[in-house]
Symmetry: C2
Subunit: 338 residues, 2 copies
DNA sequence: TATTATTTTGACACCGGTATCATTAACGTT
DNA sequence: AACGTTAATGATACCGGTGTCAAAATAATA
């Protein structure tokens, strides 16, 4: 059970190692006959090219880095899975790289990661997908990269675009159609580009329905549970509290739910609560949470596919892809009661 | 900004490349004087050895695989973080490998992963840490591996052992000291070795306190939310339901909580619910969950440290390390009311 | 001091692939 | 048939390190 190398294959197929290499890399100008011979040798010897050697010779690493924000765990798992699927299939390895997006030496750290690990490419997830200084650095460094769930297509990099504005619009529309008029909104973390998107969707739905935007119903948040609690205490402490609260993500919605429970507000009859992201928690709290599901796994699939094409310098028809999110109506949103 | 190779360093330090290599690998028999010269050259040129070349020449990959069960997300994040810390620091890359532990061709898949990716080592998390056939295969394949949160130390591999029995004992003791006598217990997934451990801790605490073990209070579960719901309907439907429920993990405890809410049982006054794992959800539900926190990050640290020593064939004093779990008392456990 | 044992060092092959470029084979053309 | 052109193939250097082994330098011993 010794290792099979390209030389063994070459000997077996009675060709030179360079020809084997050609077949391996689908290079042109190999006759069908020899191609067949070599491919037979592959299976006969169950040959696996050595990635190290390949990398050394061709100055590649077959490594792709996945950058995500440390505390933000809800969608990371799905993205990891989706990214891995394509990586494995295409012979790349995925290196995960949790980072704090507020770290002052973020750029240096990433640059070091790239050079030190000799990454072939990088995948960015929110909020990195929209960090202008980061994108600029990457553009200058010439490293191929892809963005997941980016909000704008004003980039040189391949991107999977999310339409959060549309989804937030639909969610707000859902609440309005349940009879709600006084709808509180909890903003996301200001560093995330989606924060503005979701807020804009909310605003547009209100105005399209002729409802006024009430300042006191818009409160700040930071995408985490405790900021949701804080925002809820704020909203539910108003003289005329809202009858529905749209939190910019599920964790904050869970925080709202906790506060509502503490205040003995009956859910969902006295207060509708909705979130965004379809985090695992959304199904595991009571009442279960109406939310928006984004196809993160699919987004990761597409991002990696495009990225690998970039790395291989294959022609790429489309640089921007959009995916569809869906509204998941569960128990936490109910008709408005007088 | 061209790449700095070992030849550049050798030239700069006026030694042979082999000597540079020696310094790089901390080999013996290098005089202090030359060692210093070379190290100065390292910093002067800011040299980074090429992992590909290193790997090719020394038949290593500097890759470590992390195997975990796909749906089981609660502790994976902490383990990833802990593993990465040490990997980065020691110059290894971590390849994550989510898998279904019930997959029929699990062994083949893992074997393929090892050979194809040329992993230097493997880290197992529950339930893989205690799967005998898997351990046997790995032993035979001679690949170094480490086990995280294993329950037994009857293994040839380095392991971080968790003492779940003790923690479950303490948790049960906690409930008993709150005055509970009728304590329901929801078992974990039968494939997980910790399931028996936790159950044993529960049993021992009962018997040590002179309490009878009531069969109808022990129900099956599978570590997921819905099995917790099912178990809760079972327990809370009894003529004389328990006044406290100990679920073998937090997700199931959350399921219990949902059912209790649906049945309008006041929490925690009418029913105490406790879990295990300190999953993120435990803080985000209402009432927040009393649970057991295991130091997964630390466990991963230790596992990787030991694994890398194995890979490098360095002497290893201790093959088994135990870590301390702590009881986290939150809102969901309260004194028994008559 | 001469001799032997032990460190320290370097020359060079080698790991398993790819890149370059020359060579050979196959194909049209006139 | 002779020629030029293009396609197919291989010889060999090379990627950036490590392993082997012999040579040189140093230390230990007689």
């Amino acid at each position: 059970m010794q290792k099979i190398t390209i030389n063994d294959v070459a000997k077996y197929a009675a060709v030179s190692k360079k020809t084997v290499s050609r077949v391996l890399n689908n290079e042109a100008n190999v006759s069908d006959k020899t191609m067949l011979k070599v491919k037979e040798a592959f299976v006969a010897l169950s040959y696996r090219p050595n990635p190290q050697a390949r990398g050394l010779a061709s100055n590649q690493s077959f490594l792709i880095g996945l950058v995500y924000d440390n505390p933000n765990k809800s969608f990371v798992s799905a993205i990891q899975t989706g990214a891995l699927e394509i990586c494995n299939q295409q012979g790349y390895h995925l290196l995960i790289h949790p980072t704090d997006h507020e770290s002052p030496d973020l750029l240096d750290n990433l640059m070091q990661l790239i050079t030190q690990s000799q990454l072939d490419g990088l995948v960015l997830t929110p909020p990195f997908s929209d960090m202008k200084n980061l994108l600029k650095m990457l553009d200058e460094s010439k490293i191929p990269y892809a963005r997941i769930a980016a909000t704008t297509d004003k980039s040189t990099a391949v991107s999977v675009i999310s339409n959060d504005k549309k989804s937030a619009y639909e969610m707000t529309q859902h609440l309005i159609s349940l009879g709600h008029v006084d709808i509180g909104f909890i903003l996301g973390h200001p560093h995330h580009a989606v924060t503005a998107q979701r807020y804009n969707g909310y605003k547009k739905a209100l105005s399209d329905n002729g409802l006024a935007l009430k300042k006191q119903y818009i409160v700040e948040g930071r995408f985490d549970f405790s900021s949701g609690e804080k925002a809820a205490r704020n909203l539910l402490g108003l003289k005329k509290p809202p009858t529905a609260i749209f939190a910019s993500n599920d964790h904050m919605a869970a925080g709202v739910m906790k506060v509502a429970n503490q205040k003995n507000i009956l859910l969902p009859s006295q207060l509708s609560i909705v979130g965004f992201d379809d985090s695992p928690i959304s199904e595991h709290i009571w009442p279960s949470l109406t939310t928006v599901r984004q196809p993160f796994k699919l987004m990761a699939n597409k991002a990696i596919e495009m990225l690998i094409k970039c790395i291989r310098k294959e022609p790429l028809e489309i640089k921007f892809q959009e995916t569809e999110s869906i509204l998941i109506v569960r128990e936490s949103s109910a008709p408005h009661q007088n």
